[in-house]
């Protein structure tokens, strides 16, 4: 029984979207993301006695999901590391409807190298500020800010090149 009296099933229901989405946005593969999310929750189950509060559970899950997703990419070597500048530009008509823009943005994020990719996911999926991202990823704050600025600049450039704005 955890010290905090937290219920495992409730934690799964409460955080499943967060854990699954972190893995999915990072891996860009629903089946693999589901496996990773499942592993994260089973790890939580094994470590439930160490979880002290609901906030601790959320932090622990974010950190573990980020680490497992990165490990999964390294292990499977499915995706070759491609710099954002080298990504082929998907055809997207000017003034594309939002679902297309959303899909394009997700593809561009998914093409980023591991570290800036996870930083961007934690920033825009989880709405974490740079200091919180640095805490989750055990990364210097300056590095987090640099990844954010550089990734945003690259995305803006990509979008402007095809007339999709990105102010």
């Amino acid at each position: 029984m955890p010290r905090s009296g937290l219920d495992f099933d409730s934690l799964v229901r409460q955080h499943q979207a967060m854990v699954f989405s972190l893995a999915w946005h990072f891996l860009h593969d629903r089946a693999v993301a589901q496996e990773v999310a499942q592993d994260v929750f089973l790890a939580l189950h094994r470590n439930l006695a160490k979880i002290e509060s609901p906030e601790h559970a959320q932090f622990w899950l974010r950190k573990t999901a980020a680490r497992r997703a990165i490990d999964e990419v390294r292990r499977r070597k499915r995706r070759s590391q491609v710099a954002l500048e080298e990504v082929a530009e998907p055809a997207a008509p000017t003034g594309a409807p939002d679902p297309m823009l959303d899909a394009l943005l997700r593809r561009l994020i998914a093409a980023l190298p591991e570290a800036p990719r996870m930083v961007m996911i934690l920033r825009y999926q989880e709405d974490l500020d740079p200091a919180a991202i640095a805490g989750v990823l055990d990364m210097p704050l300056g590095t987090v800010k640099s990844h954010l600025q550089r990734s945003l600049a690259l995305l803006r450039e990509k979008l402007q090149r095809r007339g999709l704005g990105g102010t």
Binding site: R13, M18, S21, H25, G166
Partner: protein, 92 residues
């Protein structure tokens, strides 16, 4: 926050996992709750069996040796009896 960042927030919004995900996780976690077969228990049982086997073998070897000693004593006793009888016959 500029428009790109707003677009990113929308594009990167959380998604629910496939239906039944939480139930599958709970079921798998329940399976891991079962006590795993304890290796040390199997090893201890094996050790007891080996020790018992060795003790049994030693007991059997002891019984065989005892039987041999008894047989030897019996044979020696019979021979001694016959020798004594012969000596008595030879006396005047």
């Amino acid at each position: 926050m500029d428009s790109l960042e707003q677009d990113l927030k929308r594009a990167m919004a959380r998604r629910e996992p496939p239906p039944g995900f939480a139930e599958r996780v709970a079921a798998q976690a329940a399976r891991t709750r079962r006590p795993a077969p304890r290796r040390w228990l199997a090893a201890a049982a094996m050790l007891v069996l080996m020790a018992g086997g060795a003790a049994g073998y030693r007991w059997h070897q002891g019984m065989v040796a005892k039987q041999r000693v008894l047989l030897a004593v019996k044979i020696a006793g019979g021979t001694l009896y016959r020798v004594q009888a012969r000596v008595k016959e030879m006396r005047p």
